[in-house]
């Protein structure tokens, strides 16, 4: 996919917002001042980026671990290709599923093609939720597994920004 209609001002805005939205009564005014845009222009650009899907969400993302969701399991499923979309969409409706993707198998070692991230207060809870997914979606006969996380080493985010101006900002990305 191309760059959509992103221009240099949009990229400057993306960069300056990387550290988070300012906790100021007029956050968009503050952002605009940093990069020489008016508050109205900042608001318009952000709205455009949301409409075009460049920004997929605008709000807060919680740090699961710090809020008691200390276990996370990546549930992986070997779903027949023709059913993967239907099952994936249904899985996304369960409240404890935070991400759900179709990914290619890496045969023979990796037979799974559907990934659903499941969060809970402990491993038993996560396992019970995965069992519930299998039950409710009638996937008990489908090969599946849960990969529990042991440690998280790095969550610094992705790089975005304007290479042309030599700016390499680290933006968090989930």
């Amino acid at each position: 996919m191309g760059m959509m209609d992103i221009d240099n001002e949009d990229l400057a805005l993306v960069e300056t917002i990387c550290g988070g939205l300012p906790l100021d009564p007029r956050p968009y005014h503050v952002l605009g001042e940093r990069i020489g845009l008016s508050e109205d222009d900042v608001i318009k650009r952000l709205q455009n980026m949301i409409e075009s899907g460049v920004i997929r969400r605008f709000g807060v993302i919680v740090q699961h671990r710090r809020l008691g969701y200390t276990a996370n399991g990546m549930s992986v499923w070997n779903i027949p290709d023709e059913r993967v979309r239907e099952i994936g969409e249904r899985m996304g409706h369960f409240p404890y599923v935070t991400l759900c993707y179709h990914r290619p198998r890496n045969l023979p070692e990796w037979p799974y093609n559907l990934f659903a991230m499941v969060h809970g207060s402990d491993r038993d809870t996560v396992q019970a939720q995965v069992n519930e997914l299998a039950n409710e979606l009638e996937l008990l006969d489908v090969e599946h597994d849960v990969l529990f996380s042991r440690r998280q080493f790095k969550q610094c985010g992705a790089r975005y920004g304007n290479k042309r101006r030599g700016v390499h900002e680290q933006c968090k990305f989930d």
Binding site: I43, V54, V60, V62, G88, S149, Q155
Partner: protein, 155 residues
């Protein structure tokens, strides 16, 4: 919720987080608008958000981008790393600035990381560089289709 690292939140904090996980207004006085909807004062809302950020309850506040639509590349990669080799490989992998998240998981495929690059073609180059640097095969698992990206948990 008996984890030592857990943070104590009161009901107002929970409400704020639950509402803002669903979105944040883009208008001249967004905090005032949210505060009004929740029956709070604007400065109280800002002070609470400040505290929630500082104590690490929020991992981010602002936009979440669609990497590909910003012109970048994104993939999930996995490696089979032996337990006694994990530290060595982990250090090498995390030194790559393109590695955004890296999780150790209980499985033969024990290392899982997200790669985010400035251009799509950098994905394959970076995967090859990681293979060379570690001597271990990297499995590329890019998304074929996305069904749900909520990243929301009711508190």
């Amino acid at each position: 919720m008996n984890n030592v690292n857990s943070i104590e939140l009161d009901q107002t904090d929970r409400t704020i987080i639950n509402v803002l996980q669903g979105g944040f207004p883009i208008c001249a006085h967004p905090y005032a608008q949210v505060a009004k909807d929740l029956g709070l004062e604007e400065d109280d809302l800002i002070a609470r958000l400040q505290r929630l950020k500082e104590c690490g309850a929020l991992s981010r506040f602002g936009p979440m981008y669609h990497a590909e639509r910003l012109g970048g590349g994104l993939t999930l990669a996995a490696m089979k790393v032996a337990e006694d080799d994990f530290e060595r490989v982990n250090e090498i992998v995390n030194a790559f600035p393109e590695v955004a998240h890296n999780y150790a998981r209980d499985h033969e495929f024990s290392m899982w990381f997200v790669l985010a690059t400035e251009t799509p073609q950098r994905i394959q180059e970076t995967l090859a560089e990681i293979e060379t640097a570690t001597g271990i095969k990297v499995y590329d698992m890019p998304k074929s289709e996305e069904f749900f990206i909520g990243l929301r948990l009711e508190l």
